[in-house]
């Protein structure tokens, strides 16, 4: 039988998740394979192979591959900065050393806080003569000799990744482009990133770091993607190979290699897209995603089915100012370690046992009790994972919790249940901080719990937050890979241009917007997106004159010219009101700071075949499960595939499926909706 398989592969810390959908029949297959952190392409290619076998077809039936990768993220987290250099404007050599003079957190920390190593150490930072004004006027010409000298010294230092960030280059990029030419001449083969290409936005420190990150991950991304792509070609032939970016859109592997900064936080993006898809199906418009993985939990607020973008992200302690889905990572996941801190306090995370050695029960040599071990001890998860592929050592987990309990004066069960309660509370605090910052109340959202461990704690987290509904999608452990199936091509463009509403600069602003749009159109056509499928969304970052921060004001699609400019100025008041709770309508002058365009190339949407019948109405098994409220009780254990639409499960109960387990807490009940999602509400 002939198939056209769209395969998506999401590399996670522990497992690489794979989804395949047949474009013709809408049939869907999912699988997992252990991640291979030393060379992620091994698991990537194995995943493609495994899923095509599962679909009963040959690899040549694969028509397209979309990939969520952590290669750039890991390069940064592992601190692979040795080959990186930076060129800056004369007088600003210490821009990274000074940063924003900010000492994190508490009072008095300035006494003992040790400044972390900078992304480019000072001996690899060079000054270049020449100066632009904030308005883009040349105050003094570029000193090309400085560039030549710097290039030669960098070469002697073994540097082959160079970031260039000159003052006010967002207003006039001529000097930076000249520097780029000289560098390419003097350092053939080097990886070069110009700040005007990476982020044409004001604030020199943040732009410099973002540009440096881009340059630094280039060799890693290029070689990994090149390797994956050639392996893929050997396996399935030449097919489109797309990479998920942090903004929630995909781009071709070649394109991403030129500007890899856009993939820096691509990992959790797929899950959010999958969640939006599920929420739309389920008729829910406001969703709080809870993507619980092995080491951490990713949270994203989705209003009106639109995930928000932010340009305030950070990776490690580095600011990343390119637009990304507004996802916040909390350091608690299934592999989080329970430990006893000073003053005999019971703590959970942020250290994680990760994939290796992993939880004790995995038997890979883990010795520290984890959240997963607690779930096993309490009977919440079965004594094996992935439908029996991974057997678990329950008695080793129990021994560890017994030891922990003795030190705290708690029984094994109290210790394990306590660890889960603290893990949930950690997630709750993280969520509250995220929502308070944005002026929102989590109780107004539906909690969409997924990832391997999302269904285990969903009810407990919802209880803390006063959330009414918890939704668990089908294949929750694979939602991130599924989300890659429903992604569009997306690219973001920005340019700083500061104009107040009194400047009468509508023409200049419109022209700048148009320049961005032309570039967007050209880029997307190059990506193979048909003209008719290109959507261009304008927005402006605006503020009241005098403020030091700006907020994004979206412009309705289709609005152009003076009307668009006017809209940015007038809508700032509404956005400000929504974001901060007040506005100065009629009282203060508005100014536009940045112009943005997001280009979307809409891609094919699969129709997912939902026609499936529950296998026989099997009687649920039963197992003793522990809850703090009830103690041990005999609880029904359902197989998710046995539950038909409208089936209802009253807690306490456990629902098992391949790759994930859902716990229906006491006082909660679950119902299967027409799209096979489990909808849990309080009884």
């Amino acid at each position: 039988m002939s198939r056209r398989l769209r395969v998506t592969v999401d590399t996670g810390g522990t497992f690489t998740d794979v989804v395949a959908i047949d474009e013709i029949s809408g049939e869907q297959w999912t699988t997992k394979t252990p991640s291979t952190p030393s060379d992620p392409s091994v698991a990537f290619l194995e995943g493609v192979r495994k899923v095509s076998v599962l679909a009963g077809c040959s690899p040549v039936d694969v028509t397209l591959v979309v990939h969520g990768t952590t290669i750039a993220t890991n390069a940064v987290l592992e601190g692979k900065f040795q080959r990186l250099g930076l060129l800056v404007t004369r007088g600003f050599r210490h821009v990274l050393e000074i940063a924003r003079q900010s000492v994190p957190d508490g009072y008095g920390n300035s006494y003992f806080w040790v400044k972390p190593p900078r992304i480019v150490p000072l001996h690899r930072v060079f000054e270049i003569g020449g100066r632009m004004s904030y308005a883009g006027a040349e105050l003094s010409p570029l000193v090309e000799d400085d560039v030549v000298r710097a290039a030669r010294e960098l070469r002697d230092l073994g540097v082959d990744c160079v970031a260039v960030c000159l003052l006010h280059s967002y207003a006039n990029a001529t000097h930076e482009r000249l520097v780029g030419e000289v560098l390419r001449r003097e350092m053939p083969g080097a990886f070069i990133s110009l700040s005007c290409d990476v982020l044409a936005e004001y604030r020199e420190y943040e732009r410099a770091v973002t540009t440096a990150l881009d340059a630094m991950v280039k060799p890693h991304t290029e070689s990994y993607l090149g390797f994956a792509e050639s392996g893929l070609r050997d396996q399935v032939g030449k097919v489109p190979f797309l990479i998920m970016q942090s903004n929630g859109g995909v781009a071709s592997a070649q394109e991403v290699s030129l500007r890899p900064i856009t993939t820096l936080l691509s990992g959790p993006a797929g899950g959010v897209l999958g969640a939006v898809f599920v929420a739309r199906q389920a008729g829910i418009r406001a969703v709080l995603t809870l993507d619980v993985g092995g080491t951490s939990t990713d949270v994203c607020l989705v209003q009106d089915l639109q995930p928000q973008l932010t340009s305030q992200s950070k990776i490690a302690h580095y600011p990343v100012k390119v637009p990304m889905l507004d996802i916040v990572t909390i350091g608690t996941g299934g592999g989080s370690i329970a430990w006893i801190g000073p003053q005999n306090a019971l703590k959970v995370g942020p250290q994680s046992a990760g994939a290796r050695p992993g939880p004790i029960c995995y038997g890979f040599g883990g010795e520290a009790p984890t959240v997963t071990d607690a779930n096993l001890v309490l009977g919440r998860i079965p004594p094996h994972l992935l439908g029996g592929e991974v057997p678990l050592n329950e008695s080793a987990s129990r021994d560890a919790y017994e030891r922990l309990g003795i030190r705290l004066g708690l029984s094994i069960e109290e210790a394990a249940a306590g660890v889960l309660e603290i893990a949930a509370a950690n997630q709750v605090n993280g969520i509250r901080q995220v929502t308070v910052q944005r002026g929102l109340d989590p109780a107004d959202y539906c909690l969409l719990a997924f990832g391997g461990a999302g269904g285990l704690l969903g009810c407990e987290v919802a209880d803390f937050l006063g959330i009414q509904t918890v939704l668990s999608p089908t294949n929750p452990g694979n939602l991130s890979a599924f989300g890659l199936q429903v992604s569009d091509v997306r690219r973001d463009y920005v340019r700083t241009l500061v104009k107040t509403e009194l400047d009468g600069a509508a023409h200049e602003l419109e022209a700048a917007w148009r320049t961005l749009e032309e570039k967007a159109r050209t880029d997307l056509r190059k990506e193979g997106v048909a003209e008719a499928r290109i959507r261009l969304l304008r927005s402006a970052d605006a503020r009241y004159v005098g403020e030091g921060y700006e907020v994004p004001v979206p412009i309705p699609e289709g609005l152009e010219g003076e009307a668009a400019v006017k809209r940015a100025f007038t809508d700032l008041h509404d956005v400000h009101e929504r974001t901060f709770g007040y506005s100065y309508r009629g009282k203060q002058i508005v100014e536009i700071v940045n112009l943005r365009v997001q280009a979307i190339g809409e891609t094919f949407r699969p129709t997912v075949d939902e026609h499936r019948a529950a296998t026989t109405a099997a009687r649920p098994a039963a197992r003793r499960v522990f809850f703090r409220k009830l103690g041990w009780s005999e609880s029904p254990i359902h197989q998710r595939l046995d539950l038909s639409v409208d089936a209802r499960v009253v807690g306490p109960a456990v629902i098992e499926e391949y790759g994930s387990t859902i716990v229906v807490y006491p006082d909660w009940q679950a119902e299967v909706d027409p799209h096979w999602n489990l909808k849990m509400v309080r009884c």
Partner: protein, 622 residues
């Protein structure tokens, strides 16, 4: 009040503690999101805290104020749900509000009729009147010149706003449009915090919650006693430090003097011997409420004794510190016990000196296992007319290098206010008639040492128009001290290079020095003191600093005994060995190095140690 005897389980304690800590962060986030003035939003100049019903501070990130003024000015029966208490009175706030721009809001938290806590936010507001815009006049001679003073009152009484307060307040401010919104934001944020505590009471019951309060406070005390105090040798130690100028009298050293007595369970900090109150606004009124405010302000310094800096960052200092730290304050009439209406606007110099003298005493008592000195706040700014002809006031808080430490170099240009930010050059140039020609670190500004001090700023700003220059900075004469053989850090300096080549040195305290179009303003901030003998510094580290231009070839030779030459610089090992040997035999290592200015002042008899102070321990070897 009797301690409750309810036993708290480790799970409940961790969840309650986590929630309270998170609530503190949430209050900060809410303040920042909804407040309006740049001082609060951009410079992060605000504090928050949660307290229990007995005024005990439960949180530790932010130092905040005190709740005692509520009980001093109102009876328990006058404290009701829906109240918002409000004040900025340095002399009627139990020592917890230092100067009048700090407007403090405090909300009682109830579970039914039971008073279970307080939530508090105060921010540094732009302007509450007084002699100059910004309400921090450097030449003020009494509190009335500094702005409107509000003793503890109720802004809301059982949910009802006393709108007269806002009317009076905004009528007295030059920037009234921000003021009401800022205070609304602070109240909203404090209320958010109180909802978190209410939810805890509902979930766990008041008894369990109060048992958790006890455990949170007692754990802080116990952590200090078990983990930090054993590192301090019992005994009596003295140390003093200075503010150089009070803005009114001619510059002279105003001494803050501390005698620290350490016993196994406790530390007593005695400020007797401190100089008389100043005429100008450098006074700090903390002689109230058994010094509870200053005990909590100084407590965090003890964290430097933790085994690692990572551990130090984890230790929360809450009310529990008061069971370990006692304070003895001098009779009225000194810098720390000024008599109303002595001005207090620039009390932040003494806030910083208090940390420095405590750290100095601890250094003596730990064989120097403390950081060297830092000076991390000063304000510089310009005012004039912007491009549209409107008056503008631009103020920037600039940090300085932190002191070297036994585990590493000091950090460059740190600011003691957590998470505050400087202004990007690309922002400042858009907004003000200036061109920032240089924004760097000052070479050799960090005190030499085995671990050198962090560097201060070297910021050079070209004025593109006629403006006025302001500076609120100390440590322009007295260096930050070096420790355990480390050298002092460089002083603060601000100057103007006129178009005709003339260089004008500007005093640390100035309100409006004229700057002409084309003049170049240069600001160099303090470096941190060095730690340990510079001759023990790894020569390779010195070479690296020379290569990066952070240390000059000359300083390498003279202070570190490291012989470096050429470009790129190369280290001469043999010559370095020889030079270091010579230097070792001729120099004696001292615990503190305060620099030339203090030495000269002492030589001239303009400062002297009080009788009975241990002279050996002052500047020499133990």
């Amino acid at each position: 009040m009797a301690t409750t005897t309810t036993k708290i389980g480790p799970v409940e304690l961790e969840v309650i503690l986590g929630t309270i800590r998170s609530a503190e962060i949430e209050i900060e986030a809410a303040t920042e999101r909804t407040a309006r003035s740049p001082m609060i939003r951009d410079q992060h100049d605000y504090r928050v805290a949660l307290f229990d019903g007995r005024c005990r501070k439960l949180t530790g990130r932010s130092y905040s104020a005190l709740v005692e003024p509520v009980f001093e000015h109102f009876g328990r029966e006058e404290i009701n749900p829906g109240d918002v208490f409000f004040w900025n009175d340095p002399y009627n706030s139990a020592g917890s509000i230092g100067h009048v721009p700090d407007l403090c809001t405090t909300i009682p938290i109830f579970s039914g009729k039971h008073l279970i806590g307080f939530s508090q936010v105060f921010g540094h507001h732009d302007d509450v009147g007084g002699m100059v815009p910004g309400s921090l006049p450097v030449h003020a001679t009494d509190q009335f010149q500094e702005g409107l003073v509000i003793p503890p009152i109720k802004l809301y009484d059982r949910g009802r706003l006393n709108s007269a307060v806002f009317k009076i307040l905004t009528r007295n401010s030059r920037l009234p449009e921000y003021l009401e919104g800022d205070i609304d934001a602070e109240i909203g944020a404090a209320r958010l915090g109180s909802r978190r505590i209410e939810a805890l009471a509902e979930h766990y019951g008041v008894e369990t919650l109060e048992a958790a309060y006890d455990a949170i406070v007692e754990n802080c005390t116990r952590t200090i006693r078990e983990e930090l105090l054993p590192r301090i040798k019992d005994g009596v130690y003295q140390w003093e430090d200075y503010v150089e100028c009070d803005g009114v009298d001619a510059p002279r050293l105003h001494a803050l003097r501390l005698t620290m007595t350490k016993t196994p369970e406790r530390i007593v900090l005695d400020f007797n011997g401190t100089d008389p109150q100043a005429k100008g606004p450098i006074n700090w009124a903390i002689n109230y409420c058994d010094g509870r405010f200053v005990r909590k302000w100084m407590g965090p310094i003890l964290r430097n004794l933790a085994a690692t800096p990572e551990r130090a960052a984890e230790i929360d200092m809450n009310e529990g510190v008061c069971d370990v730290l006692e304070v003895v304050l001098p009779p009225p009439g000194t810098l720390v016990s000024p008599v109303f209406p002595a001005p207090t606007g620039l009390r932040f110099f003494l806030l910083l000196r208090a940390l420095g003298v405590f750290a100095g005493c601890l250094a003596k008592a730990t064989a120097g296992r403390m950081p060297a000195d830092q000076e991390s706040i000063r304000i510089w700014g310009i005012h004039g007319q912007d491009r549209s002809g409107k008056f503008f006031l631009f103020r920037e808080v600039l940090g300085g290098g932190s002191g070297g430490r036994y585990y590493g170099d000091g950090s460059d240009v740190v600011h003691i206010v957590p998470n505050s930010r400087n202004l990007p050059a690309e922002f400042s140039e858009q907004r003000y008639p200036i061109l920032i020609e240089h924004l760097g670190l000052t070479p050799d500004s960090g005190g030499a040492g085995q671990f050198r001090g962090g560097l201060g700023y070297d910021k050079r700003v070209r004025a593109l128009d006629t403006v006025g220059l302001l500076s609120n900075g100390d440590r322009s004469l007295v260096n930050t001290y070096g420790l355990n053989g480390g050298q002092p850090g460089a002083t603060y300096g601000i100057s103007i290079l006129r178009g005709d080549g003339e260089v004008v040195e500007v005093p640390g305290l100035a309100d409006a020095v004229p700057v002409g179009e084309g003049d170049l303003i240069r600001i160099r901030t303090t470096g941190g003191g060095g730690w340990g003998d510079p001759l023990d510094r790894d020569p390779e580290a010195v070479l690296y600093d020379v290569g990066c231009g952070l240390v000059s070839v000359q300083a390498a030779l003279q202070q570190y005994g490291v012989v470096v030459s050429g470009q790129p610089p190369v280290l001469d090992f043999t010559a370095t060995e020889r030079r270091r040997q010579e230097m070792r035999s001729s120099a004696s290592v001292t615990m503190f190095a305060r620099g030339a200015f203090v030495a000269e002042e002492r030589a001239q008899g303009r400062v002297s140690w009080p009788p009975g102070w241990d002279e050996d321990m002052v500047d020499g070897v133990e």
